[in-house]
Symmetry: C2
Amino acid sequence: MDTVLRSRSKTVTIGAEQPFCIIGERINPTGRQTFAEELREGNLETVTQDALGQVQAGADMLDVNAGIPLVDEPELLKSMLRTAQEAVDVPICIDSSVVEALEAGLSIYEGRALVNSVTAEDERLEQILPLVARHDAAVIGLANDETGIPETPEKRLECAQRIVTAAQEHGIAASDVIIDPLAMTVGADTEAVTTALRTISLIRDELGVNMCLGASNVSFGLPQRHVLNAAFLPMAMAAGLTSAIMSTAEVCVASVRASDLLLGHDPWGANWIAAHRARQAAAKEPAATA
Amino acid sequence: MDTVLRSRSKTVTIGAEQPFCIIGERINPTGRQTFAEELREGNLETVTQDALGQVQAGADMLDVNAGIPLVDEPELLKSMLRTAQEAVDVPICIDSSVVEALEAGLSIYEGRALVNSVTAEDERLEQILPLVARHDAAVIGLANDETGIPETPEKRLECAQRIVTAAQEHGIAASDVIIDPLAMTVGADTEAVTTALRTISLIRDELGVNMCLGASNVSFGLPQRHVLNAAFLPMAMAAGLTSAIMSTAEVCVASVRASDLLLGHDPWGANWIAAHRARQAAAKEPAATA
């Protein structure tokens, strides 16, 4: 089941037989105080830098979030999306918990966006799915409901199923619903990762839809987070995860591309070998021009 | 089910609830021409260096192999084992396809060794299992038989089952049989890794025994092998692999220890955080003594 997303001129396909879709996590002021201050002052330079930097580092898509307390989030999100779209030509994941912000973002987005996110809560489903349908977008559905985040994979599957069904009632195909199986922090719950992995396999086997999660959550509060994230991603990919909102640190991107090869999504290592040669050529360049 | 191995004074326990057991792969002349030449000349310096280096890098055990064409393999293996045992105090995996070499190695090994390996071939089982039983050792059983390496996980499980049964008939407990599910080269077969992963889950679910494989095989012939191996290990660990004969390159060891944490085998990251602090302290040391 493939999910097709578009920027102005580029198409990205997320699917179980495709290379993994890396969605850059950086353009988000949560936990980035300096960036939040800049955004409050209307300074969007970091948006441009982070858009360019993440695509350069290997991002297939970018997440854009404008969640700062007490700002006009719809307006800020529009400015950030315009800036990101000017800087790079990759599809964008429009990320907000505010319905009006999602609507504002969709109104100026050029292409086919991914809306981040809806939950299995009735009210959220009724607010967000009509928007997604009207703009012919795809949507991330978090596997939680009014009662919070279910502890068991089976309950998370029920939430996912409810979202897929509600989407279909709004004319949105199951292939345009990407479920977030929810990866919590292993520093707070030693079973957080094993629960996430079992949820991923279960959703793959029962629903067959695409999945996306915030991969950096698992390592919150621990040292050497990139190394932990880089180990988590191969596990999640082997279980059936097809995309992640994640760091584009070199160790994380390399881990994903290595896993693509290992899992047969980069036949005979064509992409892996091409990337290796490009790096070798780039490393030689300064000497050649000197 | 725990497998307990011992050196002169150290005990290593391999098990599904234990941190992963890293068995250093370096002390093996296969594909190392200079090392092979040194060994032919009776120069064992590299054995000492590789023993120290791998344990320093994080190896819990060492594999020792003396397989050079036309040498007296039993004698050479004894010398290498003596040298390795003098250099470091970790349990050793005595690695040979020659029964007399395994016997010679076991005769001078101090502790409880791991014998590498037997297959599901009747003749090999009859030759090697009595040796293992007599020396109260544990044994690695390769999941292949007279017909070669089975393509399907189900056939590999049958081989594994046959080895466990034969071992029990020789008085060797299932907990002292470590099955090698066989990881082949992904550069030669795009399904090599997915087949290995399904075999690992199946053997975990059906037999519950410990498993060990040569993790570097998967990346043979490809660039950036350590990065590929470092991505393969988390997948294999999540599927149920409990040990590997592997490179102790930093990226590989870090990937294993990160996976231990993620899979709940390093509760609250105690080992991970301690290793991080030790690295920080080591990095500061030259400055402090300057």
